[in-house]
Symmetry: C2
Subunit: 160 residues, 2 copies
């Protein structure tokens, strides 16, 4: 079984955090860093409110987790994120030392937000960069997709 | 001529900033965001001192520039960076809206620091992700390489 009960429970919390992000005006994504089977840090995308194009949910959550631990090394940790990470986020996850990644929606699920360029799926990033990461996608995919629809109904497309 | 006088002058300043980073214990990289032909923000890598695996020089500099302008959008800006950006940094540059990139050293120049996995050159990232960015590498390559040697002599390899 690819997804554990912990993955399932944490993905529900990730979606709740993403919903808070949407309310605040941010893009509809959330993530969690897990350490020793317990959530260490949750965050949502903060690009708009933090004026930071690098503050995707995965990057923001990695930063939080590292502040919590006082290190730049998250080796042995895992990540649950609401969608397939973009190339920046995949790379940030890799550099942080995280080697197991669970994601919800697939890239094509957020095309309605206008992300239709610079899509490199995480599996392709790993292959191109010749690195290993355990990855499982599709956990609560439809529920995560609903968050993108909620965002779209409220604010329209992110990229025109 | 691919490199302008501004590129050359700013690369000298980028290397000075990278040297400050090395003194502080950070990895030997620096970057600058240029707006309307003038430097808007300089920064060096801060991974070690900021406990942030995402704080590569390019990401840190983009964040600074965005704070300066109060926006997550650097469209129309350019970047000068001391080496070919890693996949995370290439992607951060792309997401920020920067579309012209000048870099110093090539990936193989920092293999002595232990970066020998997850190397995807920026030109390959652009091709794989089907996006356009004007890129010119090799500006003051040998001088930038010297900074990597300085770091290596002082601290050894970053990755074992």
């Amino acid at each position: 079984m690819p997804f554990t009960e912990t993955d399932q429970r944490i993905m529900q919390q990730v979606m709740a955090v993403a919903r808070q992000g949407i309310e605040a005006g941010n893009w509809p994504f959330g993530a969690c860093v897990i350490r020793n089977g317990k959530p260490l840090a949750f965050d949502h995308n903060r690009v708009v409110t933090a004026h930071d194009p690098t503050a995707h949910a995965e990057v923001s959550t990695i930063r939080l987790a590292c502040q919590e631990l006082g290190t730049h090394d998250l080796s042995g940790c895992e990540m649950v994120t609401s969608c397939a990470p973009c190339p920046m986020c995949f790379s940030a996850i890799y550099w942080s030392g995280i080697r197991r990644l669970v994601y919800g929606a697939f890239p094509e699920d957020y095309f309605l937000l206008g992300f239709n360029s610079f899509i490199i799926p995480p599996e392709k990033m790993a292959e191109t960069g010749k690195v290993r990461m355990i990855m499982e996608g599709g956990l609560l995919r439809e529920e995560n997709r609903t968050l993108f629809e909620l965002y779209h109904a409220k604010y329209g497309r992110i990229y025109q």
